[in-house]
């Protein structure tokens, strides 16, 4: 089915192969749930009149990106997606920071699209057509330099949309500003389309390239993962924290893709399969638990009115169901068994190990294994981050009046969150069937499966059967509870928490800043915290009246990469602007010079 496009000989066509179907499934399922949530959440969010329409257009645009059959349709859908999400991010445009963020977001995605256009046109130059089918049918025979250029342009273009370090700057600024259901969709699904583009480019349209392509993706993936989670740990706005976690999870997905790329360049189909399966499986998992967590954050924001963790606390008593769903989401994102996060991270570990073992030269073997170390660091930091996020927000005593007065989220919101929570559990326990589905959809991503068991199945290689492990875990937990009863019943008496003899006040509790302090100090060279402490003495005395403490994380990328570029651009523009100095004589001189140059050229 195709429609005549605006340029001669151009056809707007659609294509639906396994990969498109997989991403379409992810888009559809998550947007269905977020729509349900949006309806429930409407009473909090003062959307402008057209926001419902924009939201529907956003979902349609994302679907169109995934099923686009040629470069022009793809770009149409791609940029419409950015434009619409820009509109949605601008929902409460009263605040100047929101406008600034939305503008930065749109300009960065527009610049990314320019890179993608460059890559597409280079491909169109050699194949002579814009239709994707032509690009895959004749494996595009590019000479290496052009192929590398196309891959580089695609990586930058799609990487920016995915939120890969160092192109991630828009993500932690745009997501917290958007309303909950929009940021759930943006973070859960939209950034995955960047991954979709990258997978299409590197596995469908380009012939296998040199191994260092994969190495670069692996390095960028590892950096995104570690830095993403580190910055997340330092944030105390729940949504910014979740946004940085999107950067981290994109890093994990890129690790899978990197493994697949190296495998493809060295002709190891098994490695490609496990790498790609891990990446795609994590795409689905991340979509589920990230959307869940953003909805949770939205529910908290609706109930308490703030997303600042330092002013939450004790919400588990007032919002038990939200707390349960948020807990499941947190456990899933931290990669804890038996949930889906663990299953895909396990697969990513296995893919790194498999590549490490089967790589030809030693030095290509070393990189994936070290990336494995980075992934382990990321997983551990993620646990720390979500213990902080969940613990400080939900447990112990409420730190502010609003938190104390919080009320449970609406029914629809809870249903939406419950669906996704169950999805996390189902995808975890049902990891094997999910992976076999992915294998059928994308043949080149058929993970090594033997019935319920994940793993290569060769002697000594790792194996994982999530349901069985979960069963054993549950039964042993039960035994641990029942066995001591042999020694007779015991009673539990309720008393106050021990606080060195003082009745416990919310002030005694550990704040998020304090919780993250050890890690902040341990990684201070990377994270570079900035701290200013102001002490106000009572007039004329040495006695301290009040202490003012403010700490934030130096926006390294923003200051040294983005503001540097834009600053120089604007400064350069100011210099050039002086050329239009208003005097007719100068303008005549310009015309004169132009005539002289033209005559010289024409001689």
């Amino acid at each position: 089915m195709s429609v005549e496009g605006p340029l001669p000989g151009m056809v707007l066509s659609w294509q639906l192969d396994g990969l498109s179907l997989f991403f379409a499934l992810v888009v559809l399922s998550i947007s269905a749930v977020t729509t349900l949530y949006a309806i429930g959440h409407a009473r909090h969010q003062h959307g402008f009149p057209g926001s419902g329409l924009l939201y529907a257009l956003f979902v349609v645009a994302m679907l169109a990106v995934v099923v686009a059959g040629d470069a022009f349709t793809f770009l149409l859908a791609w940029e419409t997606m950015s434009l619409v999400s820009f509109g949605l991010v601008l929902t409460d445009h009263r605040r100047a920071s929101v406008r600034e963020t939305a503008w930065a977001y749109l300009v960065m995605s527009h610049a990314a699209t320019a890179f993608v256009v460059g890559a597409f046109l280079l491909l169109a130059r050699t194949t002579g057509s814009l239709v994707f089918a032509d690009w895959t049918a004749r494996a595009v025979v590019l000479d290496p330099a052009v192929a590398t250029l196309v891959f580089g342009l695609g990586l930058v273009g799609f990487g920016t949309k995915a939120g890969m370090i160092p192109l991630h700057v828009w993500l932690p600024r745009a997501h917290p500003v958007a309303p909950a259901h929009v940021s759930a969709l943006m973070s859960g699904v939209m950034i995955k389309l960047g991954i979709y583009g990258l997978v299409r480019l590197s596995f469908d349209w380009l012939a296998p390239g040199p191994a260092w392509w994969g190495a670069i993706v692996l390095t960028l993936g590892a950096t995104s993962a570690v830095l993403g989670v580190l910055y997340a740990l330092m944030q105390h706005d729940l949504k910014r924290l979740l946004a940085y976690h999107s950067v981290e999870n994109i890093g994990i997905i890129l690790l899978g893709i990197g493994v697949a790329l190296v495998g493809r360049s060295q002709g190891l189909p098994a490695v490609v399969a496990i790498g790609l399966a891990a990446a795609l499986f994590h795409v689905a998992n991340h979509a589920a638990f990230k959307a869940l967590l953003f909805m949770g954050a939205g529910a908290i924001d609706g109930a308490v009115g703030t997303r600042e963790i330092e002013r939450l606390g004790g919400l588990i008593r007032r919002m038990p169901l939200t707390a349960l769903c948020f807990l499941i989401g947190s456990a899933a994102i931290s990669g804890l068994p038996p949930l889906n996060g663990f299953a895909s991270e396990w697969l990513t570990f296995q893919s790194l190990l498999t590549l490490g073992r089967s790589a030809a030269e030693p030095h290509t073997a070393l990189l994936p294994l070290l990336a494995g170390g980075a992934l382990a660091l990321t997983a551990a930091l993620a646990v720390a981050c979500f213990v902080k996020a969940f613990g400080v927000s939900f447990l112990a005593l409420p730190r502010s009046a609003e938190a104390a007065a919080a009320r449970e989220a609406g029914a629809l919101e809870l249903i939406a969150m419950a669906i996704l929570a169950l999805a996390c559990i189902a995808l975890g326990l049902g990891a094997a069937p999910a992976l076999s589905l992915i294998g059928q959809l994308v043949p080149s991503a058929a993970a090594p499966l033997a019935g319920q068991t994940l793993g290569l199945g060769s002697v000594g290689s790792g194996r994982l059967v999530v349901p069985n492990v979960a069963l054993v875990l549950a039964s042993l937990a039960a035994v641990a509870v029942v066995l001591p009863r042999v020694l007779g019943p015991v009673r539990a008496r309720v008393a106050e928490t021990w606080a060195c003899g003082v009745t416990l006040q919310p002030i005694h509790e550990y704040t998020a800043t304090a919780f993250a302090k050890p890690i902040r100090l341990m990684f201070r060279d990377i994270v570079r915290p900035v701290r200013d402490v102001g002490i106000v003495h009572r007039a004329g005395t040495r006695f301290v009246a009040s202490v003012h403490y403010r700490s934030h994380i130096a926006p390294v990328f923003e200051r040294y990469v983005y503001l540097a570029i834009t600053g120089r651009l604007v400064a350069g523009a100011r210099v050039v602007r002086r050329a239009q100095n208003g005097s007719l004589q100068t303008y005549l001189a310009y015309v004169f010079a132009a005539v002289i140059v033209a005559l010289l050229i024409a001689r």
Partner: protein, 489 residues
């Protein structure tokens, strides 16, 4: 008898009646514009379909390319005249224009429309030059219509630079005439475009190189190509909005039309590379020069003016790249830019009248003050800066695709196009957002803007539809235009 001569006649008659019946000049001008719109469309679409036609004893010659320019002028003139009714009414109420001057305003408007229609229709290159000179003269006084110091300054520079440019163009024309008379014999036909185009091969090479160089710089000044563009932001910024619309939407294209005619002659005589490379070079320079002025700008209309410089550069780049796709996209982009820029200037004009100023720092909260023009401004900016799904993206994509598939210079041009459009997108959006959002000022002038939805909705609708699907007649039109512009490489 073809309708072409009517295109010049109707505005002239209207100008005369406006001069006489000054009180009802607005209605006369609006009617004349609608009439020319209808006639212009008929002439244009007949030129796209059939072979080039002659009229008025060979004086008038209409091929597909001139048909496109006629169509553009018809559309832009109609919008400008219709909008002028509301604009001038508001201006008079705000004492910016003396009631006595209203009649003269419409006289000059219709005269300039007549002159603009004459440019693409004239077969004789000399008369074409005369028509372009006429457009300059008629619009010069319009630019200075507001009796403010800035308008006078803008008009003075506009006139001086325009006259100098056309002086050099005339010099080039004389050399072409010499080469033509040398090749075709002494007859008056030596300056007729169709004859010249037919046997351009016989023209002397060395002469045509110098002639094309002079013509390119000369008419380039009128088309606003850098570095001769310096008058453009002053003129478009200070002129009353309907005049800015005419200048930006139609007049630049007339000058570009003249360049394209000489480009075809030079290509015939010297082979395509010389003139294409010059056009491509000027196009790239225009895009590069426009960027800094868009990034740092303090006036809304000047911002739109620099965007016009960039888009004229893009069209020149497209013709320079050449090839069936490149030329198709060039014609397509000419049309898109005119429609989009007309919308933007109308919106800017409406806002300007509501705020009483066009300084970006004082334009705030336009969504609340004037929602329809504000929406038109934002979506128009997104369209004009080449964001899909609007038509300018399709044409710029076509140009880039042709560039990437073309010679190394074309590839470099396409890269500059992509980079330039991103920077301009960022710059313009930043300014427009600061205009549209934020909290509005307390005091705002009252200014009527009738059929606002029509003025904003229609062009946007056209740009949106053509961004996704081109109706067959329009597609054939652009193919025909590409056919005319086709230059055997």
């Amino acid at each position: 008898m073809s309708l072409a001569p009517l295109l010049v006649l109707v505005p002239l008659v209207a100008a005369a009646t406006c001069a006489v019946a000054a009180s009802r000049a607005a209605a006369v001008s609006a009617m004349a514009a609608s009439l020319t719109f209808v006639v212009g469309s008929i002439v244009a679409f007949s030129s796209f379909a059939g072979p080039p036609e002659h009229a008025l004893y060979g004086l008038i010659y209409v091929d597909a390319l001139s048909g496109l320019v006629v169509l553009i002028i018809a559309v832009v003139a109609a919008i400008a005249s219709l909008y002028a009714v509301a604009y001038v009414g508001n201006a008079v109420r705000a004492e910016e224009i003396a009631p006595s001057g209203v009649g003269w305003f419409y006289v000059w408007i219709q005269l300039s429309i007549a002159a603009m229609f004459a440019v693409p229709l004239m077969n004789n290159l000399g008369l074409m030059w005369v028509a372009i000179e006429a457009t300059t003269l008629t619009t010069a006084l319009l630019v200075a219509f507001f009796r403010r110091r800035h308008s006078l300054e803008a008009a003075w520079k506009y006139l001086m630079l325009g006259a100098v440019g056309l002086g050099f163009a005339l010099f080039g024309l004389v050399l072409t005439y010499y080469a033509a008379s040398h090749a075709l014999g002494e007859a008056a036909a030596a300056l007729d475009w169709d004859q010249l185009r037919a046997n351009a091969g016989a023209l002397d090479g060395a002469l045509m190189r110098v002639a094309f160089a002079l013509v390119l710089i000369g008419f380039g000044t009128k088309a606003g190509l850098a570095p001769m563009h310096t008058w453009l932001p002053d003129a478009h910024g200070e002129a009353p909005t309907p005049v800015s619309v005419l200048l930006s939407g139609a007049l630049l294209n007339c000058a570009l039309y003249a360049i394209l005619r000489f480009h075809l002659l030079a290509a015939g005589a010297l082979g395509a590379s010389f003139s294409s490379d010059l056009l491509l070079g000027l196009g790239v320079i225009s895009i590069v020069v426009a960027v800094p002025f868009v990034l740092v700008q303090h006036d809304l209309k000047r911002l739109l003016a620099y965007s016009s410089v960039e888009h004229m550069g893009i069209v020149a780049l497209a013709v320079g790249i050449g090839g069936p796709l490149g030329l198709f996209a060039a014609g397509f982009h000419m049309f898109n830019h005119s429609v989009g820029k007309t919308l933007l200037f109308v919106a800017a004009g409406a806002l300007g009248q509501r705020y009483g100023t066009l300084r970006l720092s004082r334009l705030r909260g336009a969504f609340e003050v004037a929602p329809v023009p504000a929406l038109g401004l934002v979506i128009g900016t997104l369209a004009i800066t080449g964001a899909p799904p609007f038509a300018p993206f399709a044409s710029e994509f076509g140009i880039a695709q042709a560039g990437f598939a073309g010679r190394p210079a074309a590839l470099a041009g396409a890269v500059v196009l992509l980079a330039g459009s991103v920077l301009v997108f960022g710059g313009m959006l930043f300014h427009v957002l600061s205009v549209v959002l934020r909290t509005p000022p307390r005091r705002v002038h009252a200014a009527s803007f009738p059929f606002a939805a029509g003025f904003v909705g229609l062009p946007l609708g056209v740009l949106l539809v053509m961004g996704i699907w081109l109706p067959p007649p329009i597609r054939d039109a652009f193919i025909a235009v590409a056919g005319v512009l086709e230059v055997v490489r």
